[in-house]
Amino acid sequence: QDLAPLNSDTEADRIEWSALQQKFGEVPKAAEGTRVGGVSKTLTNEYWRSLGEGYQAYADKAGVEVVYQAAQSEGDQLGQLSIAENLISQGFNALLFSPQTDSNLQPALESAKSQNIPVINVNDAVIPSAEHYVGNVQRDNGMRVAQWFLENRPQGGKVAVIEGQAGVFAAGQRTAGFTQTVTEGGKFEVVASVPGNWDRQVAYDAASTVLQQNPDLVGFYANNDGMALGVVEAVKAAGLQDKVVVFGTDGISDAYASIRAGELTGTVDSFPVLTGEVAMEAALRLLGGQDLPRVVSTPQALITKDNVESFAVKGDALREVLLKQAAN
């Protein structure tokens, strides 16, 4: 009962996704008529649609029914809560929540708990009282990019961050992870860390202003890929594509295409389809009575032109790549 508030990035009771099979064995067979409900943040971002594809793909394999719903827009906190409550009242067997904020799905979580419906918090915002969490380490997104800078730009320089919506957990963590890591050696200076509101246009405008003030900038880190693609355009418009690198987060297909085209330097892919599959797997394991650790962490990888092709595969092929990576 008395769970400590969850911090998905630091929680000690955790397991790598790749170790599930090994530690808990086969996924128990789901009972006839099992229904799992997914509540997403928004479907206007490819990331969340891919997550849903993962749910669906795994559910299809396991022969369970899945319903995947999303709020009408990002930031529609109460709308999302209504959706979650309505799913509960319809008697779903397990629920996968990707909440808008750390708190907005709390009542749904409680009412599910009181009806013994397992709930998994999948990614992004973290409900402190969540008993189960599947997702990647948000801080790690930024840290990986920072690592790239430290390795590939040893001479240091000026960098800038385009942040997501103010006050959103993922945005804050990614920014903090990047900023802290990159400035550790003292060679890099974060000259600007400005809001892009998850919006391509806002990111473009912010990036062009930053560039104009700092034409000697080395690179940008954007909190998601949509914004990163806007930043790429701003960099091109300033004629600095050879000097300024741009990194995004999420690994949406457009980001891959842009990396291939040599425009976007890289993105931290957190493999949403796989994350969805893992989340569904975890749900079925919970339904089967297995006692999973509180956090199941899912993979992520920094994708650049060098390794883009090896990650640009789907389904089981991707699993293999990632399992191999995890084994190293």
């Binding site: 479907l43 709020a71 009408q72 409550e85 309505n86 319809q90 750390d102 708190s103 006050g167």
Partner: protein
């Protein structure tokens, strides 16, 4: 073109006035009934007692905010800052309670914060002579920023269980928020229909210059509308804190649009001077029903958006057709 003009209304409108339920509200009700019938036909789960209570509960926060919005709109204004106002109140109450202050101190404090936010809006509008839209657009940013800065962007957890019980329990099987909002609606109805202030709201929104000359305290009337709106937003914030068990500084995002939509569906005119408490409640319930029904039918998000837009338009057209022009 004008044979069923506004002129047709005098008698019914008058009777309606006494019952507090006018022809216009009947139109809104018909819109709601139409929506309910459609959903009931499509989803067996829809017309269960539990689901209906669910709808009321889900509509209660919007209804609470929309009540205040209705008064502001009637008095000729608009309040875009309700969401951040609620956030400030919620954060203030939560911080106090977490800091050990008793609930009975935190609640009035939150109310005061909400009313103070409203007062700032009202003063800028009434004495600064600025347009309500632009004033509250400005304070929308201002209040939100204040909440974010104070909390550092993090939600405040650790709300005492007694507080949550107060705002998130049930009375005789009816969720507390529904009861609270019903009581508030009654109060607002009384203010609007039975007190001098209500007369003033309607008069100032109807003809500000004439009201001024007739000795209506125009500035105070406007300010009062914003203060009440701020207070009700604060209560909505507290209800939400009760439900969520946390006070998030981003709480209340987009509330203004829902509240304005509820008031407008309920017959409030954004030109001022017109609006109804019952209409607004029905408007909020229509919006809540829509969400609930579409989720029950498992409509995909994009199509939910499509349906929401369509249904609002169709409901308004039905309403319009039933009550004639006015």
């Amino acid at each position: 073109m004008s044979s069923t003009d506004s002129l047709a209304t005098p008698r019914p409108a008058r009777r309606g006035f006494k019952l507090g339920f006018g022809l216009r509200d009947a139109g809104t009700l018909i819109g709601l009934v139409a929506i309910v019938v459609v959903f009931a036909a499509l989803s067996p789960n829809f017309l269960t007692e539990r689901n209906l209570l669910n709808i009321l509960q889900q509509s209660s926060i919007n209804a609470c905010v929309a009540l205040g919005m209705t008064l502001v709109i009637i008095a000729g204004g608009i309040d875009l800052s309700v969401g951040p106002t609620a956030a400030i109140a919620a954060v203030a109450a939560a911080a106090m309670m977490v800091g050990g202050a008793p609930i009975l101190l935190a609640i009035p404090a939150a109310l005061l914060f909400g009313m103070a936010c409203g007062a700032v809006n009202g003063i800028l509008v009434a004495y600064g002579g600025l347009q309500p839209f632009i004033v509250t657009l400005g304070t929308l940013s201002l209040y939100r920023a204040s909440a974010l800065i104070y909390t550092g962007g993090n939600p405040i957890f650790g709300i005492p269980p007694e507080f949550r019980a107060l705002f998130n329990g049930a009375i005789l099987g009816i969720p507390t928020p529904v009861v609270i909002v019903a009581v508030l609606a009654l109060l607002v109805w009384i203010v609007l229909n039975k007190t001098p202030l209500g007369e003033y709201f309607l008069a100032v929104g109807g003809n500000e210059e004439a009201s001024h000359i007739a000795g209506v305290p125009v500035a105070m009337t406007k300010i009062a509308s914003y203060v009440i709106s701020g207070g009700l937003a604060a209560i909505a914030g507290l209800i939400l804190v009760g439900r969520l068990g946390a006070a998030d500084p981003t709480l209340g995002n987009l509330w203004e649009l829902d509240a304005i939509a509820a008031a407008a569906i309920g017959g409030a005119s954004l030109m001022g001077g017109k609006g109804s408490v019952i209409g607004t409640l029905l408007g909020a319930i229509i919006l809540g029903t829509l969400r609930n029904g579409l989720t029950l039918l498992n409509v995909q998000a994009f199509y939910q958006l499509l349906a929401t837009g369509l249904i609002i338009l169709v409901a308004m057209l039905i309403d319009r057709a039933t009550r004639g022009r006015g």
